[in-house]
Structure formats: structure tokens, C-alpha cells
């Protein structure tokens, strides 16, 4: 794969600050997140990890304005995201939700063209720049050969790359991904993670919710560990991830090894903890 063309990252891509201040979120009867503060480091890959139900997907939904917070605010460049027009946000922040689904019969290229919609208007339906950016997004996700194939005929990994390509075509400085590799096999996972690394190398700020702690350590610059709606640790993966942290997060004991290639932590020798976990 070639490096990303500057087209996808220049212009609007001056680093964008995304932060949560005193954020509380929840559903009708239960509060999932309470008083959470978080600053997403610009230009880096941030991975949010934690056990099931710790609020990591809820946090991502809050950061991407899918759910309204019950208190506090999410700030995009210092302005409350809820007060910004939705299209305006869509030009600065792209999102790949977990439940992404498209209508039947859509081809890959058509899907990716939808990513340009926030930049278009009634009288500017398709500029030359739109065409160039869709081409670049197709190339970046290595989908040129598959461009005319219908989405439902593709493998899980290819489909996920197509969705990411749509988010790339939005040409936003910020990209939020909710479990981009869930339900993918190992090969496809690596495919997606390497694409994410490339995007980061081109200057995008990326936030992703990841289930697998070892992958998070390997591909993220910044790790946010959540437990019961609170951030209990954050920082560079090799600084943050310790056996104690893993036990606190997941209630398991483990041994930490080092990946011989990337020198990032790998979780091994997992056993059920004898100590009762908190809560």
C-alpha cells in the first residue's frame, strides 16, 4: 500500500481538539458514565479499552454526538458539539459505528461517495475535488479493484475497509471507530489496523474502541482504560498496561510479555483471579 495522498488530510486537517468535560451519560434507568474528563491527544491513535459494560461504547457515542450527555459536554475545538450544526461536525469528525448497515444493492464506490455528502450542497452535488477524494479513499483502502462490487457480496474484512473508506472520504481530521475489528478474523484485523496506522501517519486523530487489549497495545499511541464508567488509567500502552491493571479491568491474572517485533505488551498466561473483583 502506498502512503496516503495529502488530499485526504490537508486543508481542514489542522489538528482538532476533542475533549469531554464532566461528561455524564446514561440510559433511562442507569447511569453509565459519571463526571468523566478526557482529552484526545491530537494526531495520535487513542484506544479505549475495558470490560463489557464499562461504558466505552457509550463514551464513543457521546464523543461522536450520537447520544446526548445527561450532564457535562463534549467540546470540539472548544465548542460544545451539541451546539454545532450536525453537518459542520460531520466535516470535522467522521464516525464508523458498530451497527453500520447500508441499503441493499449499494456498490463500494457508491457507499464511499456518500462520505462526501457533508461537503456537498444542492447546487454543488459533485465537484472535481469530490471525485479526486473518492479516488484517493478507494486507493487508500486498497479497494480500487472492488469498486463496482455490491457491498453485500464482499468478505467481512473488505466490507469493513469499505466503511472505513467512506469515513476517510469525509476528509475529516478526526476519525472515531467503534470496534472496527470485531467479528473479523486475524488477517482481516491486521488489514484494518494497518490502515488505521497509515491514517494516523498522515496526521489524522483517531479514537477507537477495541476489545482485544494486545491489539490495542500494539496499534494505539494512547490507551484509555475504563472500568465502571470511570477512566482508571491512561497513557502510552507500555507505561499503562500492567498485570494489576488487567486484573482490575477484567478480573483475571496474567503475565505480560513483550511483542518481539513492536516491543508492545502482550497478555499471556491468563487465569481466573482468585481475588474477588471490585463491584
Amino acid at each position: 500500500m502506498t502512503s496516503l495522498p495529502t488530499l485526504l488530510t490537508d486543508g481542514s486537517c489542522a489538528a482538532v481538539r476533542l475533549e469531554a468535560r464532566g461528561l455524564s451519560m446514561g440510559y433511562a434507568h442507569s447511569q453509565v458514565i459519571e463526571h468523566l474528563d478526557l482529552l484526545i491527544p491530537p494526531g495520535q491513535v487513542t484506544a479505549i479499552v475495558g470490560p463489557n459494560g464499562c461504558g466505552k461504547s457509550t463514551l464513543l457515542a457521546g464523543l461522536s454526538r450520537l447520544h446526548k450527555p445527561s450532564a457535562g459536554a463534549v467540546l470540539l475545538d472548544g465548542k460544545a458539539i451539541a451546539s454545532l450544526p450536525s453537518r459542520e461536525v460531520a466535516r470535522r469528525l467522521a464516525l464508523l459505528p458498530q451497527d453500520a448497515s447500508a441499503p441493499d444493492g449499494l456498490s463500494v464506490a457508491e457507499l464511499i461517495r456518500f462520505g462526501r455528502q457533508p461537503h456537498q450542497s444542492l447546487l454543488r452535488q459533485w465537484s472535481e475535488q469530490d471525485q479526486a477524494i473518492v479516488d484517493a479513499a478507494l486507493a487508500a483502502a486498497d479497494l480500487l479493484e472492488l469498486a463496482e462490487r455490491p457491498l453485500e457480496s464482499m468478505s467481512g474484512g473488505q466490507r469493513q475497509r469499505a466503511w472505513i473508506a467512506m469515513a476517510i472520504a469525509q476528509a475529516t481530521p478526526l476519525l472515531l471507530l467503534d470496534e472496527p475489528t470485531s467479528a473479523l478474523d486475524l488477517g482481516h484485523q491486521i488489514e484494518v489496523f494497518e490502515l488505521i496506522r497509515q491514517l494516523a501517519a498522515a496526521g489524522k486523530t483517531i479514537v477507537m474502541v477495541v476489545h482485544d487489549l494486545s491489539s490495542a497495545c500494539r496499534y494505539a499511541d494512547h490507551l484509555v482504560a475504563m472500568h465502571q464508567g470511570q477512566i482508571i488509567a491512561q497513557g502510552a500502552p507500555s507505561d499503562v498496561v500492567t498485570a494489576e491493571l488487567v486484573e482490575r479491568l477484567y478480573g483475571v491474572r496474567c503475565v505480560l510479555l513483550q511483542d518481539p517485533l513492536s516491543a508492545t505488551p502482550i497478555i499471556a498466561g491468563i487465569q481466573r483471579s482468585t481475588r474477588p473483583t471490585e463491584g
Binding site: 502506498t2 495522498p5 457515542a61 461522536s64 454526538r65 450520537l66 450544526p85 450536525s86 453537518r87 459542520e88 461536525v89 460531520a90 466535516r91 467522521a94 464516525l95 464508523l96 459505528p97 451497527d99 453500520a100 448497515s101 447500508a102 441499503p103 441493499d104 444493492g105 464506490a109 456518500f114 462520505g115 455528502q117 457533508p118 456537498q120 444542492l122 447546487l123 454543488r124 452535488q125 459533485w126 465537484s127 471525485q131 473518492v134 479516488d135 484517493a136 478507494l138 486507493a139 480500487l144 469498486a147 463496482e148 469515513a167 469525509q170
Partner: protein, 350 residues
């Protein structure tokens, strides 16, 4: 150097300086053909059965040229009926397309979810039960709105599953249908006869006032629907994707529902509950356009075509008995509804 992706094969781009328009080739061609088909069948229907009248002469007569007898037949009798068919069919086709996209379910049409019955009940009320000076059209509008609001409000709490929403609609429709029967049972025979066309759907001798109101409504409604199409095409994705691309989901839902209610009510005020047009026309349009986007305009054209053909069939199938157009569309549409229902697997996106 990256290779260049295939160009927009299915579209053509019109460019003028900074401005650009994206036209889907197939949809545009289909629209042209449908217009042509509408023109031809209109001329044919106008001329049909009148001695020595060619379709061309009929069209000329419709625009005021020809012998006085022909002019009388065409302009006073046939043109109003044709117009009411064209307008109501177009309105129902577009409304069906909007609602199907909104509910992400091909079976959600104004008739199935009770909007037709609501409009009918209120219109019948204005004729038989509550003598008011308000025109039936205005009351049909409020009836349609009431039914739509009730259905959406009652379905919302039970989870957003598309099929639940439809069954709530069936129940609301049954309520309004019972209310209509209630009023008809209380009414004296003249009022009941006056209200009869409202209950089956017929284009026979419709009040010209309502037809012009519908024409005006279409003039407003169709361009508005066309403006919504870009956002609506994103609403075919899951909610989170649509929000991520900057769609104001709630606003769009309310707008398209309002538009749907507006079009349905005006059409029902003219033609009565001919709901199944709203099911078949968008489906036909989608099929013709190779499932591209949200074909609101083509659905309207298909609806108009289907409506005038069904009305023609109803008039001539058992002549001299006239079959109301609502019965024809039900006989054609219901098996079709069954067919989609049984054929589709558990997923059903429009």
C-alpha cells in the same frame, strides 16, 4: 501513483463554474419514459370509446381546440377525472416512497399504517355526523395527521422495530374504520350515499375544488420531497451512520412524515382510500431505477400512471357497472403485498 478509480459510470455531472448537478442516468431516462407513457395513456384514455376521436384530437380538445361536442365531452367530463387520477396517484406514490424510506420498511405505506382510514373517518364526519362548513379536504388533512401522530406515538415506546409500528398502524386503522362505520350507521341514507365514495376509493365525480387543492398541494409537496431526497438517501443507512454524515435525523423524520401526511390527505380527499397505489408505485419505481437512491419523483409518476390505468380498467371491465378504483388497486395490490411479505427474508430495507 494510485490508479484512478472508475468514473461515475451511472451518473452524468452537469457543471457550471462552481456549481454542479449529479444526475443518475437511469433514473432520468426512466422519468422521461414515464412522462411519455403518461402522456400517451392520458390521450388514449381521453379518446377511448368516443366515436371518431383520435388520441391526438382528444389531446387537442383538452387544450381547447376542436368541435363543441368534443370539447364538452373532453373538457367537462373526461379531463377532470383524468386530472384527479393523475394528481392523486402521484401524491400517493410519492407519499408511499417517503414513508417506506422513513420506516425503512417496504410494507409501511400510508394505507397500511392507518393514515388513509384517519383521513376517511374525518372526511366522512364532515359529511354525515358533524355538519361543518369545513371542506372535507381540510378535515381529511387533520384526520391523516391524527392517525399518523397516534401511530408514531404509540409505536415509539415499544421499540423501534419496523413491524411493530405497522401493527400499531393496523390497529389505529381499525379504530378509524370502526368510527367511519359508526357514523355511516347513524347517518340518514342520503348522507350515507354521499359518503360512500369516501369509503371505497373512487374517482367518480369528485369535487373539482378538492382536485385543484390537490394540484396545488403537489406543486408544493413534490419539490419539497425532492429537496429531502439527499437526506432521505442517507436515512436508508442505520441511524448512527446517518448522524455521522451530518443528517439531522429527528428533523428529517418529522419533515418527511409531515410531507407524507400532507400528500396522502390531499389525495384521499380526492380519491378516497386507494392506499395500495402507495405500496406498488414506489416499488415499481425502485425496480425501474435499478434500486438507486430514493426515487420520489419516479414513484409519483408511476403512481399517476397506475392510478389512471386502474381507473380506466374499473370503468370498462364490467361496463356498464363501474368498479371503484380502490377495489381494482386492492385486487392487484394485496397479492403483491403478500408476495413481498412472504418472499423477503427477515431483513427488509427499502
Amino acid at each position: 501513483m494510485p490508479r484512478i478509480s472508475p468514473p461515475l459510470t451511472a451518473h452524468c455531472v452537469l457543471r457550471l463554474g462552481d456549481y454542479s448537478l449529479l444526475l443518475h442516468r437511469r433514473s432520468s431516462t426512466v422519468a422521461l419514459f414515464l412522462c411519455l407513457a403518461l402522456l400517451l395513456s392520458s390521450a388514449w384514455i381521453l379518446a377511448f370509446g368516443a366515436n371518431g376521436l383520435t388520441p391526438w384530437a382528444a389531446l387537442r380538445a383538452a387544450f381547447g381546440q376542436g368541435e363543441p361536442m368534443q370539447l364538452l365531452l373532453i373538457r367537462e367530463l373526461r379531463v377532470p377525472r383524468l386530472l384527479s387520477g393523475l394528481f392523486s396517484g402521484a401524491a400517493l406514490g410519492a407519499a408511499g416512497c417517503l414513508l417506506q424510506t422513513l420506516a425503512r420498511n417496504r410494507l409501511a405505506t400510508p394505507g397500511v399504517i392507518g393514515i388513509d382510514n384517519g383521513a376517511t373517518a374525518f372526511a366522512v364526519a364532515s359529511i354525515v355526523a358533524v355538519p361543518t362548513s369545513l371542506a372535507p379536504s381540510a378535515l381529511a388533512l387533520s384526520g391523516a395527521a391524527t392517525a399518523a401522530v397516534l401511530t408514531f406515538a404509540l409505536a415509539a415506546g415499544g421499540g423501534a422495530r419496523g413491524y411493530r409500528f405497522i401493527v400499531v398502524g393496523i390497529a389505529i386503522g381499525a379504530l378509524f374504520g370502526a368510527a367511519t362505520n359508526l357514523m355511516l350507521a347513524r347517518a340518514d341514507i342520503d348522507a350515507a350515499n354521499a359518503a360512500y365514495p369516501w369509503t371505497v376509493g373512487s374517482l367518480n365525480a369528485r369535487p373539482s375544488q378538492a382536485v385543484w387543492l390537490l394540484g396545488g398541494g403537489l406543486l408544493l409537496g413534490l419539490p419539497a420531497a425532492k429537496l429531502l431526497v439527499r437526506a432521505l438517501s442517507l436515512m436508508r443507512f442505520s441511524d448512527s451512520v446517518a448522524i455521522g454524515l451530518g443528517v439531522r435525523l429527528r428533523l428529517m423524520r418529522v419533515l418527511s412524515l409531515l410531507l407524507c401526511v400532507w400528500l396522502t390527505a390531499l389525495a384521499v380527499a380526492v380519491a378516497g382510500p386507494v392506499g395500495l397505489i402507495a405500496l406498488v408505485a414506489p416499488e415499481m419505481a425502485r425496480h425501474l431505477c435499478a434500486r438507486h437512491g430514493v426515487p420520489v419523483l419516479n414513484a409519483a409518476l408511476c403512481g399517476a400512471l397506475l392510478m389512471i390505468l386502474a381507473d380506466w380498467l374499473g370503468r370498462h371491465l364490467l361496463a356498464p357497472i363501474e368498479i371503484p378504483v380502490g377495489i381494482i388497486t386492492a385486487i392487484v395490490g394485496a397479492p403483491y403485498l403478500l408476495w413481498i411479505l412472504l418472499r423477503q427474508s427477515s431483513r427488509s430495507s427499502p
